[in-house]
């Protein structure tokens, strides 16, 4: 077995769970904003696509932070 795996087992499991949580909820809530955005565009006669994309981009950023920061603490 890779000695890195046995020395940093907790870190690896933690990164797995934390990364999973971050990406799961980022995607989930992005979908919810998207759903609300579709209704908004439909009711607002096509207005506001840019704002909806910005709002979805902000929650996308949380997902990006989740994986980048966890990559940084990945044991070498």
């Amino acid at each position: 077995m890779n000695p890195n795996t046995t020395t940093h087992a907790g870190t690896f499991l933690g990164i797995g769970i934390a990364g999973g949580l971050a990406e799961m909820f980022s995607a989930w809530l992005q979908g919810l904003i998207g759903a609300a955005g579709c209704r908004s565009i439909s009711e607002g006669q096509g207005k506001g696509l840019v704002f909806i994309i910005i709002a979805m981009g902000i929650v996308e950023t949380v997902g990006l932070f989740g994986f980048v920061f966890l990559l940084l603490v990945l044991p070498k």
Partner: protein, 159 residues
């Protein structure tokens, strides 16, 4: 490796996942509210309000606060003896930071969602008060970060 070390290592990284969860939920709630308000404005033929973006983007900062504590604890991770001796403390710091940032972001998003509705109904009045209200819950996240950074075990000075 002991179970204690394992627990300490997990605590360090779990906080980021919890904080990202809170940020996502907060932004998601405020984002849905903003979409509704934009739809209402579009239907009425009014110009769409950009200030909603400021309110819905605020809960993102809590993920960064958790990252700061995680990086500080990540340096402690290099010293396995300190991790073993302070495993409970390290796991506790991870859990407390994660919870503090998660709920701070979540509740900030709830205030943001309610604030967007308030702005939409009052035609833009009260933005400063909403920013202050959201700033107060942001402060809780900053307190959690700063006070828990103070609890991080010291590394021995390099010889």
């Amino acid at each position: 490796m002991t179970a204690l070390t394992f627990l300490g290592q997990m605590g360090i990284v779990l906080m980021l996942g919890l904080a990202a969860f809170g940020s996502s939920v907060g932004i998601g709630m405020a984002g849905q509210s903003a979409a509704g308000a934009w739809g209402k404005a579009g239907k009425a033929g009014k110009q769409l309000n950009f200030t909603y973006i400021i309110l819905l983007g605020m809960p993102i900062s809590q993920t960064l606060y958790a990252m700061i504590v995680m990086n500080k604890l990540g340096q402690v991770l290099q010293n396995s003896e300190i991790v073993l001796a302070n495993a409970g403390l390290i796991f506790g710091i991870g859990l407390a930071t994660g919870l503090g940032e998660m709920l701070s972001a979540w509740m900030q998003g709830l205030i943001g969602a309610a604030g967007i509705r308030s702005l939409s109904e009052s035609e833009g009045k009260g933005f400063a008060f909403l920013l202050i209200a959201m700033g107060i819950v942001e402060t809780v996240g900053i307190f959690a970060m700063v006070f828990l950074l103070g609890m991080v075990p010291e590394l021995p000075a390099a010889a």
